[in-house]
C-alpha cells in the first residue's frame, strides 16, 4: 500500500491533494475521501479561532502504525493522511484522509477507521477560542464508541 502522511501548519487545498492522489492510482476502482472543516459555530457559539497541537515525530509514528493496521485489514492501493496543526480559520480544512482500492467497500471502511482513530487516538490536542476564552476540546463519547467499533474486527 502506497502511503503518505503529512502534518503541517500550512493550509492545504483538499481537492488539489485528492486530484494528485487520483492521478497516481494504477488500478483502483474506487477512492474515498474525508475532509474535515473548521465549523464557523463551535462548542461555544461562534468560534474565532481553532488551534491544534501535536507531538512532532510521535504523532506521525502513531499515524504510520494506524496505516499498518489499515493495510493489514484491507487490500488498499494507497492511503493519504494530511493533518493541519497550529491556528486555523472557519471553513479551512483541518484533516484529509483519502483511500483507494479495487472495490469500494475497502476504501470506505479504511477511511472510516482512519478518521475514528484520528479523532480519538492520534496525538493531537484541539482548542477553540471563542467569546468565553480558550476551551480544550475532548472527543465526544460517540467518537470513542466509533473508534472502539474496530477493536474486535
Amino acid at each position: 500500500m502506497r502511503r503518505t502522511i503529512r502534518i503541517s501548519t500550512d493550509p492545504f487545498d483538499p481537492e488539489a491533494e485528492i486530484a494528485a492522489f487520483r492521478h497516481a492510482l494504477q488500478n483502483a476502482g474506487g477512492m474515498v475521501s474525508f475532509t474535515g472543516l473548521v465549523r464557523p459555530s463551535g462548542h461555544d457559539g461562534a468560534v474565532s479561532a481553532l488551534s491544534l497541537q501535536h507531538y512532532p515525530g510521535m504523532t506521525e509514528r502513531g499515524i504510520d502504525e494506524m496505516l499498518d493496521d489499515v493495510a493489514s485489514r484491507w487490500p488498499l492501493e494507497a492511503a493519504l493522511v494530511i493533518h493541519r496543526v497550529g491556528e486555523m480559520q472557519p471553513h479551512e480544512a483541518i484533516v484529509l484522509v483519502v483511500t483507494a482500492s479495487e472495490h469500494r467497500r475497502a476504501a470506505f471502511e479504511a477511511a472510516d477507521l482512519l478518521m475514528d482513530y484520528l479523532k480519538s487516538r492520534a496525538l493531537f490536542w484541539k482548542s477553540e477560542t471563542g467569546a468565553q476564552g480558550k476551551v480544550w476540546i475532548e472527543p465526544r463519547e460517540e467518537d470513542y464508541a466509533d473508534a472502539a467499533r474496530w477493536d474486535d474486527r
Binding site: G36, L52, Q53, Y55, G57, M58, R61, H83, I94, V95, M115, L118, K119, S120, R121, A122, L123, F124, W125, K126, S127, K134, W136, I137, E138, P139, D143
Partner: protein
C-alpha cells in the same frame, strides 16, 4: 537535563509546552510529578489525573517508569484530532 513536554491544557497550566529539569539520578515519573506538585499544586494534580498518559522518548510508559537525565518526558492528556 531532562526535557519535559506538556500537551493540551497541561501546557496552559505549566505556562508553556516545554520545560527542562536536571535529574542527578533516575526518578520514577510519579516522583517527578511529586516534585512538580510541590511547587505547583494545580499542575501537579492535573498531571496525576488517571486519563493523563506518559511517554519517555516517544514510548508510552507507566507512572513507575524511570526517567534519566537526557530523557524526554511527555505528559499526554486526552487527545482530540480531526
Amino acid at each position: 537535563m531532562t526535557q519535559l513536554l506538556f500537551f493540551g491544557r497541561l501546557g496552559d497550566l505549566a505556562g508553556g509546552v516545554e520545560r527542562t529539569m536536571t535529574l542527578s539520578q533516575p526518578h520514577a515519573i510519579a516522583d517527578i510529578i511529586g516534585l512538580l506538585d510541590a511547587s505547583d499544586r494545580l499542575l501537579g494534580s492535573a498531571l496525576g489525573e488517571p486519563r493523563v498518559r506518559y511517554a519517555i522518548n516517544g514510548a508510552i510508559v507507566d507512572a513507575d517508569a524511570l526517567v534519566e537525565d537526557e530523557d524526554e518526558l511527555a505528559f499526554l492528556p486526552p487527545v482530540s484530532g480531526g
